[in-house]
Subunit: 161 residues, 3 copies
């Protein structure tokens, strides 16, 4: 088993199935796409193990606490890792994490976006360590997100040549 997959198991974490969008929703794009050493990652949200949208939905600061938002960001990270694993074969092929754009469905007056997106960043640092897992990041407040998900994250990773 690849090293990152072993660490996930040691942390008691598992990767969800591919997203099952709500009925009638058409998503005509790739969840991840490789261009040479770059792998671009579409916006992902938090999923249940079977790929359905994880609850609770809604705005952080109103429908979700910061702790629930943190967990949603971690689940979003697992959904991204699952898409990367499906596209790449195993997660050890990732040489370094690069750009992460963390979007929080924000209640009016909610300003703790970094504390929410830390649920993603900490997961990646736990799995890849500081050298490979280190990334650049924005964590910002959106007016609305699709399906009313609380967190959406897109980004990029680099593969070993």
């Amino acid at each position: 088993m690849a090293l990152i997959e072993q660490r996930l198991e040691q942390l008691g974490l598992s990767l969800p199935a591919q997203i099952q969008p709500p009925p009638g929703v058409h998503l005509p794009f790739a969840f991840v796409q490789q261009h040479g050493a770059r792998v671009l990652i579409s916006g992902h949200g938090p999923l249940n193990p079977d790929g359905t949208l994880a609850q609770p939905l809604g705005k952080v600061g109103r429908d979700l606490t910061v702790a629930q938002g943190y967990e949603a960001a971690q689940r979003t990270g697992l959904a991204i890792l699952a898409s990367l694993q499906r596209a790449l074969g195993d997660l050890d092929r990732i040489k370094s994490w690069t750009r992460i754009f963390g979007m929080v469905n924000s209640a009016p007056g909610f300003h703790e976006h970094p504390a929410v997106i830390n649920g993603f960043s900490q997961l990646i640092l736990d799995l890849y360590g500081r050298d490979q897992g280190q990334h650049t990041r924005s964590a910002v407040g959106m007016a609305e997100l699709p399906f009313n998900i609380p967190v959406e994250i897109e980004g990029e990773v680099l593969l070993y040549a």
Copy 2:
């Protein structure tokens, strides 16, 4: 005539003139910029054939229906293709579409961003086919967009070496 330009004509679509910003607006940046094989695309909105901002303006889910938002996203795609054509000479130079970031000016409680940005994605897939047109994407809800446009899209394409 280049192949993509032929397909546009077959689909009955034409590319708008360069944006004519509202009076007094200064836009001190490049609409597209080439760096080796990468071409970065600034945020574009929906335009009329003469480059003026297309109507209706406003928020999808309040001032525009989903169908009107879809059409605005398609028009935004045509504006992006027009900028790419001006910069590159012809649109056949594009080897693959990559990152697309689709922003929807969202009414409170509006969550159908994917259905809106599909107006862009479908245009690109119709023109470039599944292999070259396939892209990664986020489709998210903004609080406001410049000039109250309903849709803004930025992204990146790769050229043949």
Copy 3:
């Protein structure tokens, strides 16, 4: 002294210290990160010379005028240049500016995002000139930003090989 640092001095501008986040805030990511010739830039906000968050905080169009937003975008540019200088040694290593994503903490109905983010673009054009300083850009309206900062900007630059 490097050329860009000289121009900053001639313009009467100086670079702030690294951000001092509010107490209890953990920011587990890199402010900038180099990958070959690409340097990715995390989301930055406007800072005082000592690295504390610059006042006024809040929404442009309600708590800040467009002129105050413009100044906040300029200060955000100085914070980005400071992070780049710390990572790269000197600012002359930058061959060209590329993608700039300008986020404005927007009051409802505020649509002058380009005029705000021009505070950043003009700074970069003044320092690097039109050839190197030219960039692609989006300037859009966010529902909320971390710590209630009025402007946040992320992006990318390319270094000389």
